[in-house]
Amino acid sequence: MQIKEAVEKGLPLKDVLVIDAHAHLGATVDGWMYIPTPDIDTMIRLMDKMGVDQICASAILAFPDYTRGNDLTAEAVKKYPDRFVGLAVVNPHYAEDVRPELERCFDRLGMRGIKIHPTSNDYPVDGEGYQEVWKFASERKTFVLSHTWHDTSTCNPGKFVSIANKYPVVSFILGHSGGQAKGYQEAIKAVKQCPNLYLDLTGSLITGTWVERMVEAVGAERIVYGTDFPFIDPFYEFGKVCYANIDEESKKKILGLNMAQIIRKLS
């Protein structure tokens, strides 16, 4: 059965590896935004409905408080080690704690990737506070998922070109691919310049038409599927990729094969 046909019937994808590269854990949103039933068991049930094998998740709590947030992510990883790939979050304003926290997350809490959000922390991605993140990621040959948005002072996609060139063993995922049309164009331009940069399809404004344009511009192997789940409902993003007018092999790469390859690079 083709992917679109399965989704038209509301069925989980079978025999298709699906990895959500951009997810969260919303159990303690702590007032920022209302999210109904954000417990991880509900998340697992919804993943099963879509046929999602794994999600790469960071706790939303980690953006205001990375220590407590990373502890929450660790709980989810411990409970569902085959379904959650934990992403460690650090805050560049606490630069002296970046390496110790990443070591704690990777060596004691079972994390396997890094998530940064320069907008939430109001800190430029090319600033000093992130330097230890790049060094650590390079040592561990891991991946970094960063929020990106066009026309910001902190994390527009173009800022990642020089960082990605300096740390070629790190896979950098441009979260939201710049967030809006001008951002997508900027992200595409950046990805064309660096083999270790990837586009992320998480974003309410990314349409199937943009998925098709991105595939044509950079190739399906440079794009990963993401949803922001449970920050937002995952079924919208899921549908957009599954209905996109691209060939079946490209969909499979985007839905999971590319992210699996990125995760496999970990030392």
């Binding site: 209302y34 954000p38 309410s204 349409t207 409902d233 079924f235 919208y236 549908g239 209905y243």
Partner: protein
Amino acid sequence: MSQFYFFDANAMLGRWPTEKLAFYRVDDLVKRMDYVGIKKALVYHSLAQFYDPMSGNRTLMEEIKGYDQLYGCWVLVPPFTSEIGTVDGIIAGMREDNVRAIRFFPKEHGFKLTPWNMGELLSALEEKSVPVFIDSDQVELGDIQRLCEAYPQLPVVLTRPGYRGVRMLYALLAQYQNFYLELSSFLLYRGVEEIVEKFGAEKILFGSGMPIQDPAGAVTKLRYAEIGEEAKGMIAHQNLERLLEQVGL
């Protein structure tokens, strides 16, 4: 396969000034509807938003002529500048063209949805039970509350509601029987499920938001939603059909 079908409450024709969207022509809209499985659509024209409402409405009616699956939604502004003619003339024109829904762009077009600014237009629409559609980026939710309060029999549909104003949206859903949400860009995690449980399936209308949004998003959300088939049918098409059928032009 589920038995319900989709009647889209929020589709647009015409070019978008700041981005090349998926389509702008009526034949491409119809192809897109077929591709994602949408049977009928309520449509407005971008010229009515970005140029002149009444000439945009005329362009809309010319373009959808002969497409029985498309239903026109006119864009209006307050009557005091006479751009839309008289209120009686508007109602007569709607009757003649079988237009049963209105859309407003208060921010884009520079007005307020208040009795002093709208004159007799909103009262007339309320009297005829004509549903009005408003994008969430065109108003403050406080404006929607005042609109629902001032015109309790006027069906008010908030389109592209987003997911950040939920604490106010729930207050509107709880307190105003004439307030409805359209599904496109309503990305609140399990929001459909919770609204159906708390406020009833009659409060949500399926809408694709295309071509600004991807219709596959809302279609997929509803197909997989953890609600009953009856509720899915109400959201997918029955609620909009009921609103349009009760219009008394």
